[in-house]
């Protein structure tokens, strides 16, 4: 019996592959397993291969496993694409109709189950996936009762008959495996802890985090792989009396959010690369008018349309350097579903406290993959609106209110439209402390400095947050990553540590403001450094190099940009080489 099993179902898009995965995941969650589910799909609605991978473990897992233990292959592509990833002893299930053939050289345990036939016998070919679920449950040695409940839940709204038929289909598949004498040593799981957790994708966590963080306005435009954020918020926002709308394009969406932010409502938009590029002008406007706003960018493979359904972390340059002129902004790069939740909520505080645009970077895997999480700690989230003036305070100032007052830390008191004595002009044109358009030389320099000064405060606040360091103080090898690679890099660290290596890992949870001193200290203390990124330019690596003197001979890069997230094993083997 194993602590961990990796299960995959593959087939044609539109054939129910997704829901098969979802049902299995839901059932496993009830049984108290930790889960990480990853979907591979393409920019095509029906047809074309898709697969759903679920990594199931008795411990927390983030990221895919290297090898597959159970493969439910509903099409030939499942074999050609995934065949080489099978673990030793893996079991491959195909339909007994023989449409999918297994090349002899694969040398695997292959079980043909008459899934379509069973389904047909029950009067409906649509249930072959349910049969497959029964097969899977049996292979993992799970109790069938737990599934019965889930199947009921899942098909309830289609009526009792459907529930019963599916239950039967499930049981038939289950029984088929029980009856066949198969060696289950590679597929049988140790029991779960019975604790039901929550299944959430990063996109859902972002939407939920936004609500908890006080966001009450979203304007967005559909785009893969970010659409779920807006869809979640459009569905949920009515419960919080906010406004969440789909609008004409990304240009409008960010500007609406800025307008709402200026007015005093926590506001956001969500998008992916092409949309982010369209937002560059407005990003600068938010900076110049010091309007709080949050942008979530769920990165996909670029540039241009790129590969809309493939993974990458390559928008960092644009997030950090995009928009014309010198512009201060905050860029958060959460690494797990939990971090996405907390950091999205945090983003709204930062946006209001420092009156800057805040970008939260997700990537496709982080956005779409469902993962089991523990209940969030809502008490840690408090809403800090920053320096919003009350009407009383404004009244005291009389006509003396200066929206862009030059202060020690660059942050100025803010009035909100509707407040008496707080009238001012927000303008993207350079202005004086009271907000009037003014192009004087000294004023200009002071205003530029003021706007950047604010990042120093943010840097202080984020000091304990921007970086997470794991491991020994003087490691032989320090791995560095940002955003969604955290899971695989943590796994890498743990594996290498268990193997006895002196390693450490540095995770960037925020890239701007850049935590220069700390990064420098960590890098200087390490013998060798490996920067791991899902892009071809080594974007974070270059941003690090910009900020600190770095001895390039000690630094290596592992860059993956084939459209897929890392697998810990890849990183581990590269680390061993470097070490």
């Amino acid at each position: 019996m194993k602590k961990e099993v990796s299960w995959v179902v593959g087939g044609q898009q539109g054939e129910g592959i997704d829901s098969t995965g979802e049902i299995l995941a839901a059932a496993l969650n009830r049984l108290g397993y930790h889960i990480y589910g990853y979907r591979t799909f393409s920019s095509r609605i029906k047809g074309g291969h898709t697969n759903y991978t679920i990594r199931i473990s008795t411990e927390r897992v983030v990221g895919n496993a290297e090898k597959i233990d159970i493969l439910l292959a509903f099409d030939q592509d499942s074999i050609t694409r995934l065949g080489e990833n099978l673990a030793k002893g893996a079991i491959v299930i195909t339909d007994a109709d023989g449409k999918v053939s297994i090349p002899a050289e694969l040398g695997i345990n292959h079980v043909a189950v008459p899934m379509t036939q069973i389904s047909k016998d029950l009067g409906n070919t649509l249930m072959k996936n349910t049969v497959g679920l029964g097969v899977s449950a049996a292979l993992m040695g799970l109790g069938k009762e737990d599934f019965a409940a889930i199947i009921k839940e899942q098909f309830e709204r289609k009526g009792e008959k459907v529930v019963n038929l599916n239950t039967e289909a499930f049981m038939k598949g289950y029984q088929f495996i029980k009856d066949a004498s198969i060696d289950l040593s590679s597929t049988e799981l140790l029991p779960g802890d019975g604790k039901r957790r929550y299944m959430m994708s990063g996109n859902e966590a972002a939407g939920f985090g936004a609500l908890v963080g006080g966001c009450r306005f979203l304007a967005a435009y559909p785009i893969t792989p970010a659409s779920e954020i807006m869809q979640y918020l459009i569905k949920e926002m009515p419960n919080y009396h906010g406004a969440a709308i789909q609008v004409e394009d990304e240009i409008a969406s960010l500007i609406m959010a800025i307008g709402a932010g200026y007015t005093g409502v926590r506001s956001m938009t969500s998008t992916s690369g092409p949309g982010l590029s369209l937002m560059m002008e407005a990003l600068g406007y938010a900076g110049m008018t010091e309007s709080p706003v949050v942008i979530i960018d769920v990165q996909r493979a670029g540039p241009s349309t790129g590969m809309a359904t493939k993974h990458e972390q390559s928008d960092l340059y644009e997030m950090v350097y995009g928009s014309h002129g010198d512009l201060a902004r905050i860029v958060l790069t959460p690494g797990t579903v939990e971090e996405v939740f907390y950091d999205t909520a945090l983003a709204f505080n930062l946006a209001e406290k420092y009156q800057v645009p805040v970008i939260v970077a997700l990537d496709m895997a982080l956005g779409l993959c469902k993962q089991t999480v523990e209940v969030f700690d809502f008490d840690t989230i408090n809403i800090d609106r920053g320096q919003v003036m009350t009407e009383e305070e404004l009244e005291k100032l009389g006509s003396d209110f200066k929206r862009y007052l030059l202060t020690e830390n660059g942050v100025s008191p803010r009035s909100l439209p509707g407040q008496k004595h707080g009238l001012y002009l927000a303008t993207g044109v350079e202005h004086d402390p009271s907000g009037h358009i003014f192009e004087g030389r000294e004023n200009r320099v002071k205003m530029v400095d003021k706007r950047f000064k604010k990042l120093e405060g943010a840097a202080k606040e984020l000091k304990g947050h921007s970086l997470e360091y794991l491991g020994s103080e003087n490691p032989d090898l320090l791995t560095i990553g940002w955003g969604g690679t955290k899971g695989q890099l943590t796994e890498t660290y743990q594996t290498l540590k268990e193997e006895g290596y002196n390693v450490a890992h540095l995770h960037f949870r925020a890239v701007s403001p850049f935590p220069k001193e700390q990064v420098q200290a960590y890098i200087y203390a390490a013998k060798k450094v490996l920067i791991v990124e899902n892009n071809s330019s080594g974007q974070l690596g270059n941003i690090i190099a910009q900020a600190i003197d770095i001895d390039r001979n000690r630094v290596q890069k592992l860059l993956k940009y084939d459209g897929n997230p890392f697998i810990a094993a890849e990183i581990i083997s590269r680390c061993r080489e470097v070490l």
């Binding site: 394009d249 200026y262 007015t263 506001s267 004595h421 993207g428």
Partner: protein, 288 residues
């Protein structure tokens, strides 16, 4: 509280050229605001980039001097964030009908309760005299040395065709009429457009005050004109090439604020964000 025009004046000296039509627009807006008894702090003027866009710096209220062509999304965000505010978007013909045409038409469709004032001088003023989307065919400018080739935008026709609920046209030669049309627009619940013919005395030597005085027809004096019929309005625009002043069309309209699920009378900006953990625990159950 009774308001006067002075309540909406600032000390900022306008940068407009002497004689620019935009002065009259500003005065008209101030008059309208006074007539309606608005509180300056309850008004946001959202302006674009252009000579016209400077309006927000001279009008005493909250101001949001936006990007070129982007007044309307900004105004939409502001209004939805605080429905108690009177939100007025104002910009030029280039701003609104050129680079910003997309937002203009989608805003009509969305029908949020904002008033849009376009200071239409048929030219790009601030950038020194290039032709604009409303420039007359054949107008010679620095970017159309042999005359403009593009067919002009017919903003009112377009607005009518897209289903606008209130549309009127004023002229800087008659600031009082302008003010009345703006009053009507602000009172209208939903998206409204007042196209304001506001001559550029520096760069447009074709569409001058005199030209308009000769060519504009005042619909207000035409007793037979029925401004509650969209078809008639469209017809009229085609016949007159949009050379009219007055209320062109006013019809029924349900603003987005009244249909948006969960959106209530209490403005977003006043909602209490501190929600007990309990409620979040419940919300999290949806993911179980």
């Amino acid at each position: 509280m009774a308001r006067t025009v002075a309540d909406f004046r600032t000390n900022n000296k306008p940068w407009w050229c002497p004689g620019c039509g935009d002065f009259a627009v500003m005065t008209a807006l101030q008059k309208a605001a006074a007539k309606l008894g608005l509180d300056p702090e309850k008004v946001v003027v959202v302006s674009g980039i252009g000579c016209s866009g400077k309006l927000s710096d001279y009008f005493n209220s909250y101001g949001f001097h936006s990007m070129h062509g982007r007044t309307l999304p900004a105004a939409t965000g502001i209004k939805l964030a605080n429905r108690d505010l009177t939100v007025i978007a104002a910009g030029g013909d280039g701003d609104g009908y050129g680079i910003g045409l997309n937002h203009f038409l989608h805003s009509i469709r969305r029908n949020v309760d904002i008033t849009y004032l376009v200071m239409d001088n048929h030219i790009y003023g601030l950038t020194k005299g290039q032709f604009s989307p409303t420039s007359d065919p054949g107008h010679k400018t620095v970017t159309s040395p042999e005359g403009t080739l593009d067919a002009p935008v017919q903003p009112i026709t377009m607005a009518l065709a897209t289903g606008i609920g209130y549309v009127a046209q004023g002229f800087s030669g008659d600031p009082n009429q302008m003010a009345d049309l703006i009053v009507g627009a602000i009172e209208h619940k939903g998206f409204s457009l007042v196209n304001l013919i506001s001559p550029c005395v520096t760069f447009n030597k074709v569409n001058t005050y005199d030209y308009y005085k000769e060519n504009l027809i005042n619909l207000a004096v035409d007793e037979k004109y029925d401004s509650s019929n969209r078809g008639i309005a469209l017809q009229k625009m085609m016949e007159t090439n949009e050379l009219v002043t007055g209320l062109i069309y006013k019809g029924e309209s349900t603003p987005l604020e009244d249909t948006l699920p969960g959106y209530d009378n209490n403005p977003l900006v006043k909602q209490d964000l501190n929600i007990e953990s309990d409620r979040w625990f419940k919300a999290m159950q949806k993911f179980a």
